[in-house]
Symmetry: D2
Subunit: 386 residues, 4 copies
C-alpha cells in the first residue's frame, strides 16, 4: 500500500457531532496520509457546522452551512477542495454529489447511492458528464481477503460458481431504538431520509455488493420476504431473499437487524465446481479456501497463498490484524489514485479500478427497489434491470 | 442416561454389506445396551442377507431374504423380535414398516418417512391402528445441546421467535458420484428409490426437522428454488427455501450437496425478541446463547447452564466430546423406553416423548412435496398442510 | 474399524455404582461389539458388588467381592473371562493386574499404571513373564486425528521435531471439592490411593503420553514446578514443566485442575523443521497442519488428507463427529485384536500395536516421580531413566 | 477515543526505507490525528535519510543524518519538535533517547528498552531527571480487550490470580532468514544491535509485559530454557520459561520464532480463584471470560460487558474489527495526552497513565538478562530484581 507523500484537499458534507460514519471516513482518509481535511459543511446550519469544525482542524472561513454554498465557495478558491466526502443521510447523496460534480470536484459518497432509482440514474448521468471521479464507499470490498477472494474466483480457482450464500446480521434494532433518541436508528428508520428500504438498504446492499464484487456475477431476479418484527417500525428489519444470478448460479441473502448476538456479522460463502470460499467480516484476516478433494486451508492476509490483490490492500505483516478502518482506508487510497490519475491525465493503477463506482451504487438501488416490490407483492420473483 | 440392563430383541431390515446407515443404527442400538440384534433381512435375497449375518452375530435361521418373510416368522416365535430397525432406501420404508406393525412389532425407521405423501398418510394410519411404537431416526434431535436449545426456547428464554436460519451443507455430490459405483450416491439420486426430492429429501428434511424440534414452530408456507448443478443428475443437489412459520416467524433453509469444503455442516440459528441461539452439528457439544443486551455465552454439554433436557441425553462429563453415534443412540434409548412402557402398559418417561414420530415424518414428506411443487412452478409460494 | 462378530468374555474390577471411569470402559467395550461383560468385582465387598451387577447384566454367581477371588474363580471356569478391565483407584492397579495375569487372564488397565516406580517395574516383569496382553487405557491415543498426527510425524512431514507444547487444563478442582463428598475428587486427592502425584498423575500423564505417542520422542530431563493452590489440598493441582527430549527437542507441559473455563482442554502442538501440527481434544475431529511456507490446512477425520492410520480408528463418515467414547473404544478394539492374536497364536494387525503398553505406563510413572522429585527440590532438573 | 484537533510536532529517528516498525509508528501517530511528522533522522547518513523524507512529507531542512544533530537543531528551533519517536535497532535506543530527553524533547521509544540493564538504569535516570514524558511502545497493551482484561482483574472478577500462561509464537525464522538479506531478521539476530536475547528480547518481552499489564503481577524468579534450533544462528529462537510471580502465582511463558503455522500468535490466559480470562492477539476484538461455575462468555469490543477501560481504547462500534494499528495508535494517543498534560502543567487523564513507561522497559530488560543467565547456567532459577 503506497503512501504518496502528497495529500488531496478534502471537504466533507455531513459528519458533524453525533454522527458515526463521518468519523470513520475521516479515519479512512487520514490513515494512508493521502488527504487533508480543509473544509466542511458538517451540519445543516452554519452554526452547528461551526460547532464541529475546530476539533477537526477546519478553519472557520471554510466551514459552511450547506453543501451548495460549500461547492460554490470551494470551486472558486485557488486552493479549493479537490474532493468531497458525502456522509449525510441517504436522501442528500444525490443533490450534494450533483452540486460538487458540477463544480468540478471529485466525490466520495457513502452508500446506498440514493433513495430511489430515478435519482440513481440521474446521478450516474451527472457523473458521466462531469468526467470526475465518483467512488461509493462499499467499504467491505477494501478488505484484503475480500480482494483475495475476488482474485481467486477471477482466476478460476473455484470453477464455475454454483451457489452464493451471503448474510449480514446485526442486533442493534432488536428493540425500538429509533424512538429512544438514538440518532443512527432514527434516520435509518425514516423512509424520507433512508428511502423505501430499511435493513435491505442499510446492510442488505453491503451483502449484495460483496457477493457481486467477489463473484463478478449480477443478480438476474430475486424473491424477497421483508419483515418488520418490531412493532411500530416503518421499514423492514429482517430480510430473506432468494437470488438467481445471470449465468445460472443460485443464492440466498439474509440481512437482519434483529438477530441477538450478531454485531456486524457480514459473511460470504461461494461455492463452485472446483472449490469453495468462506469469509467473515468480524474476523477478516482469514479466508477459508476448500479446493474440492483437498483439505481446506486458511489463507491469511500476508501469509502463504495470498496474492498481489491482497498485498495491495495490506499495510502490515501477517498475524497482526488489520480491521475495518484499514479496509475503509483502502477505498480512500484507491479513490486518491483515481483522482490523481484524473488530475494528471494518466491511467490509474489497476488496483484502484476496484473501487466501487456509481454503477455499483445503481445495482444496489436496483436491489432495494426490486426487493421492496417483490415483498410488497407477496414475495414474488422480480427481474432486475440487465 | 440410564442403561436398563435388559435388552430388547431387535431385528433389522437392510443394512447389509456396503450399506452405511445400517451400521450406524447398530452402533446406536448397542451403545446404551438396550438392544440385542437377533434377526435380520439385511439384503433383498437370502443369499446376500446371509453374507452379512455372521459378522453381526445373527444366526442363520433368523436371517431372512425379505422383510415380509421376516415379519411373519419372527411374529410367530416366542422369542421373536420386539422391534425392528428399517434402514432400507426410502421407497421400502412404508411396506416394511406396515408389515412389522401389523405383525405387532414395534418399528424404528430411517428418514425420510416415505417417498410420497400418500404412503406417509397410510403409514400414519397403520401406526395409529397398530398401537405400536414408531420412531423415526431424525437423529440430530438426539444431540444434548439440541435438546438444551429446545428446552430454552420452550422456557421462553428467547422470547417470541422471529427468525430461523437453518442449513445443511455437504460436498460429496460435487461431481457425478452416482455414476461411479458409489452405492449411497446411486440410490439417493434415483427417484424410484428416493422419491421426488434429492438434496431436499436427504438432508433438507433433517434441517427442517431440526428447526421444528428446537423452535416448536411449523412451516405455514414455503418458496423453494431447487437446482441440479451437476449435469445429468436427475434430482436436486442444491436447495434454497424461504420459510414462513405459523405465528409469524420467518426463515430460510439452505441445503446443498455441492458445496466444497462442507462435510455435514448442519447449522441452526434461532433469533427471538429476547435472545439468539446458534448450534452446529460438526461441533455439537456447544450451544451459543446470546441473551439480548448481555455477552454471548457458550453452554457446553455437562457444563454450567446446561439443564436436565441436555443431561438426559448425556453420558460422560463436560469437555469429553460426545458425537454423532451418541446422539443417534439417544434416539434409540428413547425408543427403548417407549417400547418398554408399551410392553408394560405404563406411561413412558417424559424425555422419551421427544423421540421423532410418524407425524414428524409426515411433516418432512410434506416439506419435500411442497418444495418440489414450488420449484416446479417457478419457485412460487406453496402452503403446507395445517 | 472392523467389528469382528465375536466377543471376548470380559470381567471388570471396580466400576460399581458412583464410579465414573468404569462406565466409560463399558461403553468402550460395547461400542465395537468385541466384548461381553460376564463377571465383575465391582466394589470391595461382595454386597456392594452385587448392588451393581444386575443393571450390568452380570449374573450373581459371577459377581465377586475381591479381585483375588474373581481371578481364582474365573480362571477355574471353562467359560471364564478371557480379559479383565481394571478400573479401580491407582493403588490397586498393580495387585489386581498381577492376580489376573498370573491366572492367565489378559488385562486392560486404567492409567496411571501404578502409584510408584517399584510397582511399575514389578508389574512390567509380571506382564513379560505372563505372556499375556496388557493394555493401558491412555485413551486419547485412540482418537483418529491423534493417530493421523503420529503417522504424519513418522512420515517426516514435520521434519525433525524442535518444540512440543502440550497442556491439559480442567477447572473441576478450583474449589476444595474433595471435602464435599465428591467421590472422584476424594480418591484422586488422597496420596494413598493416587500416589504422590495429583494433577501431574491424573492428567499430566495423559498430556505426556500424548506427546510421546505423536512425536515418538522420549523425555530426557524435566524441571517441574508443582503447586497446591487450594488450601488444605495435599496433592498438586497445577503443574508447569519444562521438558527436554532425547535428540534435542524442547517442550513445555502444563496441567491444571484449577483453571476456570477449562473442562478437558487437552491440547498438543508440535513444531518441526518443515511444519507444525495442532490438535485439541475438545474438538477432536480436526487436525491443523501447517507445512512451512504454505497455507495451514484443516485435516478432518475421514476427509481429504487423512490417511490409513486415522481410517483404522474411524467408524463414520467425515463431518459426523466421533468423540471420547469412540476414541476409547478404539483402544478396546486394539486390545481385542491383540488378545485374539495371542489366543490364535498369530501376529496381530499392525494398527493394534499402537495400543498403550505397560512400558508406556512405566514412562508415565517415571514422569510422575521425576516431577514430584524435581518440584520437591525446588524445581530443579531431573533426568528420566533411559 | 477523543481526537484533540491539535497536533504535536513529531520527529522520528530511524524508520527509513526498508524499515518495518517506523511505518507502523507513523500510522499510529496519524490515526487519531494527534501528531504531525515534521522532522527526521530516518537513517544513519543524511543522504539516506533524505531518500526517505519526501514521501513522508518532511522538508529537506529538517532531515538529519544523526539523532545528535537532530536533537540539537530541533531544540534550537522555535517550532522544533515536541516529541520524537525512536524506531532504531535496540542498541541505539539509549543514546538517542538520552539526547532528546536532555534537549527537553519528549520521547516515544520502541521496545525492548535497551540491550542491557546498565543502559536501562541509566536511561531511567535520564528520564527522571529530564521531567519529560517517556513512553515505550509495548503496543499490545493498547488493545481494547487487553485493557478490559486488566480492568477485570483489577476489579477482582478473577479473584486472586493463580496461574498465568502466556505465549508468543511466530514462524518467520524457521529457516536462516538472517543470511538471506532480510533486514528485519538480520539485525534481530545480531547481538551487537539486539542485545544478548533473540526471541526472548524480540517477542518474549511482549508476552512478559502483556502478562504484567493484565495481572498487575511482577515476576519474582524464572527458569528459562533458551534454544537455537536453526544451525548457525547466534541468538535464541525458541524459549520456554517457568515463572513465579510475587504473591504466589505461577506461570509459563513460551516464545518461538520457529513454530510453523504461527504468525503473531500472542496469547494470554489468566486463571484465578473466581474465574479465567483468555485473549489472543490475532483475533483481538474478543475476550473470553469464564466466571467459575457459570457459562463462559465472549466479551467483545464495544459489546455488552465491555467497560470504560475498553471504551477509551475504542474508535468504532462492536463487530467492526479494530486491529494492530488501532492498538498501537492508542499508545500514541495516551502519549499525546501525557505530553499535553506536561506542556500544560496539569494532571493527565487517568487512562493515559496506562501507557508503558521506562520502568516497564526496565522490567523487560531484567527479564532478558535473567533468562539469558538462567539458560546459560543450565536453566536454573534466577531471581529478578525487586
Amino acid at each position: 500500500m503506497p503512501v504518496s507523500g502528497r495529500r488531496l484537499r478534502l471537504g466533507m458534507v455531513g459528519g458533524g457531532q453525533g454522527a458515526f460514519i463521518g468519523a470513520v471516513h475521516r479515519y479512512a482518509a487520514r490513515l494512508d496520509d493521502c488527504y487533508e481535511l480543509v473544509a466542511g459543511a458538517f451540519a445543516s446550519t452554519r452554526e452547528r457546522s461551526l460547532a464541529s469544525a475546530p476539533a477537526l482542524g477546519v478553519p472557520e472561513d471554510r466551514t459552511y452551512g450547506s453543501f451548495a454554498e460549500m461547492a460554490a465557495a470551494e470551486a472558486a478558491r485557488a486552493d479549493g477542495i479537490q474532493v468531497v466526502s458525502i456522509v449525510t443521510p441517504n436522501h442528500l447523496h444525490y443533490p450534494a454529489a450533483k452540486a460538487f460534480l458540477e463544480a468540478g470536484i471529485h466525490v466520495i459518497c457513502d452508500k446506498p447511492l440514493t433513495t430511489g432509482l430515478a435519482d440513481a440514474n440521474a446521478l450516474a448521468n451527472v457523473v458521466d458528464q462531469s468526467g470526475r471521479v465518483f467512488v461509493l464507499t462499499h467499504n467491505y470490498t477494501g478488505y484484503p481477503m475480500v480482494r483475495q477472494a475476488r482474485a481467486m474466483v477471477e482466476a478460476g480457482e473455484l470453477g464455475r460458481i454454483r451457489t452464493v450464500q451471503v448474510e449480514y446480521a446485526q442486533d442493534w434494532l432488536t428493540t425500538r431504538l429509533e424512538t429512544e433518541g438514538q440518532k443512527q436508528a432514527e434516520w435509518r428508520s425514516d423512509p424520507v431520509r433512508s428511502g423505501p428500504g430499511g435493513c435491505i438498504a442499510d446492510i442488505g446492499t453491503h451483502a449484495h455488493n460483496l457477493a457481486r464484487f467477489v463473484t463478478g456475477l449480477e443478480v438476474e431476479a430475486l424473491c424477497a420476504d421483508l419483515a418488520r418484527f418490531v412493532e411500530g417500525r416503518v421499514l423492514d428489519d429482517n430480510v430473506q431473499v432468494l437470488l438467481r444470478f445471470r449465468g445460472g448460479a443460485r443464492g440466498a441473502l439474509w440481512a437482519s437487524q434483529v438477530a441477538p448476538g450478531n454485531e456486524n456479522a457480514l459473511r460470504l460463502r461461494v461455492y463452485g465446481e472446483k472449490g469453495g470460499l468462506a469469509w467473515s467480516q468480524e474476523n477478516p484476516n482469514h479466508l477459508r479456501f476448500a479446493p474440492y478433494g483437498d483439505a481446506p486451508r486458511s489463507i491469511t492476509r500476508g501469509g502463504p497463498g495470498a496474492g498481489p490483490a491482497a498485498a495491495h490492500a495490506t499495510r502490515i505483516p501477517a498475524g497482526h490484524p488489520e480491521g475495518y478502518l484499514e479496509g475503509f482506508a483502502t477505498i480512500y487510497g484507491d479513490a486518491a489514485e483515481l483522482i490523481w490519475a484524473s488530475i494528471e491525465g494518466r491511467e490509474p493503477e489497476a488496483r484502484a479500478r476496484l473501487a466501487p463506482t456509481v454503477r455499483d451504487g445503481m445495482r444496489g438501488v436496483e436491489l432495494i427497489e426490486a426487493a421492496v416490490a417483490s415483498s410488497a407483492a407477496g414475495a414474488v420473483w422480480v427481474d432486475l434491470p440487465p
